[in-house]
Symmetry: C2
Subunit: 257 residues, 2 copies
Amino acid sequence: MVPKKENTPYFGEVSDYLPGISIDCVVVGFDLQQLNILLLKMKDGGHWGLPGGFVHKDEDMDRAASRILEERTGIKLPYLKQFHTFGDTQRRANSPNFFSESSLPEQFRDMLTWLQNRFISTGYLSLVDMRNSAPSPDYLSESCQWIPVDSIPELMYDHNQIVHKALEQIRNQINYLPIGISLLPEKFTMKEYQFLYEEILQKKLDRANFQKKMLKLGFLDRHEKQLSGGAHKAPFLYAFNRDKYEELVEKGIGYLS
Amino acid sequence: MVPKKENTPYFGEVSDYLPGISIDCVVVGFDLQQLNILLLKMKDGGHWGLPGGFVHKDEDMDRAASRILEERTGIKLPYLKQFHTFGDTQRRANSPNFFSESSLPEQFRDMLTWLQNRFISTGYLSLVDMRNSAPSPDYLSESCQWIPVDSIPELMYDHNQIVHKALEQIRNQINYLPIGISLLPEKFTMKEYQFLYEEILQKKLDRANFQKKMLKLGFLDRHEKQLSGGAHKAPFLYAFNRDKYEELVEKGIGYLS
């Protein structure tokens, strides 16, 4: 690993990193209203982008993804899952220089030249409970924020495309994997669970049918209603049964099974 | 693109390629008996491995995958799909030198040094009808063969792991995508179709249930029985309805839908 130098952030030297390979992290959060993506706004230039970085020469890529996310956003995630590698020649073509020289420590200025090279980037994805995360910007950024997916600005390089691909991946996965354990609070209503699915699939689902199918899968425990004392009926609360959930993640929700 | 030089194969110079990135192709075929993987056996050393290669500096990765497969096996596939990028530091550790200097053209010998570097490899996957393919070994290889998945020898580097991951990917996909259009002949029996699924999933499926579910998905056209004249009843033959198949690939086979 690269030792930290005094008064500088974590960069080290260009020669500490694999050439031509980068990592971009798409962290998706849900606030019971909409899906959000964790984005950084660069200092000076003010461009928005995904938390990304480079791989140390002696570091596994999966480990690099977690390190990069933590260094750039303060968020520690044990598990980021690779979802696609972006390797088009034009993926960073016609991009302005997003890094201003003044914002960089001296030994990192070599990186401005290094960054002119072609990079292939591997995208990593994670779904998190937004309310348990406190993102903070890194040395290069002026802010680090959750941005709703329908308000994502123009991002640097091909990062809009990377986000698009990540969301597409989640939509595909929903067809064979249970989803939500990491996006929802411990207890939630069926309406909130359905709303998450509708946000991901970008379409309305039938309430009765959704509930029936979800309960049939057997990974939701229903909790007794709270005594509300009010005129309105309190809805049931559900929680994931971790063992059954993991079992289903393992074997998938097959239409054949 | 790199121009071919006289008396040498396609390599060009080390400096024509992106450093540290390789591509490995997992081509899966089905012969109505079992799944097979297309493998190359190197000259001299005699090690088996996946058809792989490197990315030209001015070439999109997806294009590189098709070029590499064609150069190394003679098989032209319009569409190879990326499935995973292998980025562990140890993925080529403790591997012997698989390329003998004598088997390489002079300008490629620099590559022996170049190959000592760490490489991250992106795996590409394709499912093909074996009977329509005529693989042939390239300059570096003494043979190019379909090997049944249960007879795959020890492969170079982490190629066994790459094959494993590709098969796992197919097993996952089978839960939300129709599969088989590129693996089966134009017309096939339900038994052959079920056998393909059983080979992929590595488990027996219930005949009646399989037929019912497949027919319900609506992408199979049933053809009239041939007059056989024999004592045995000829089975129905089925063919994929391309339009409906593509539609299902587009939207997925969801348990919610």
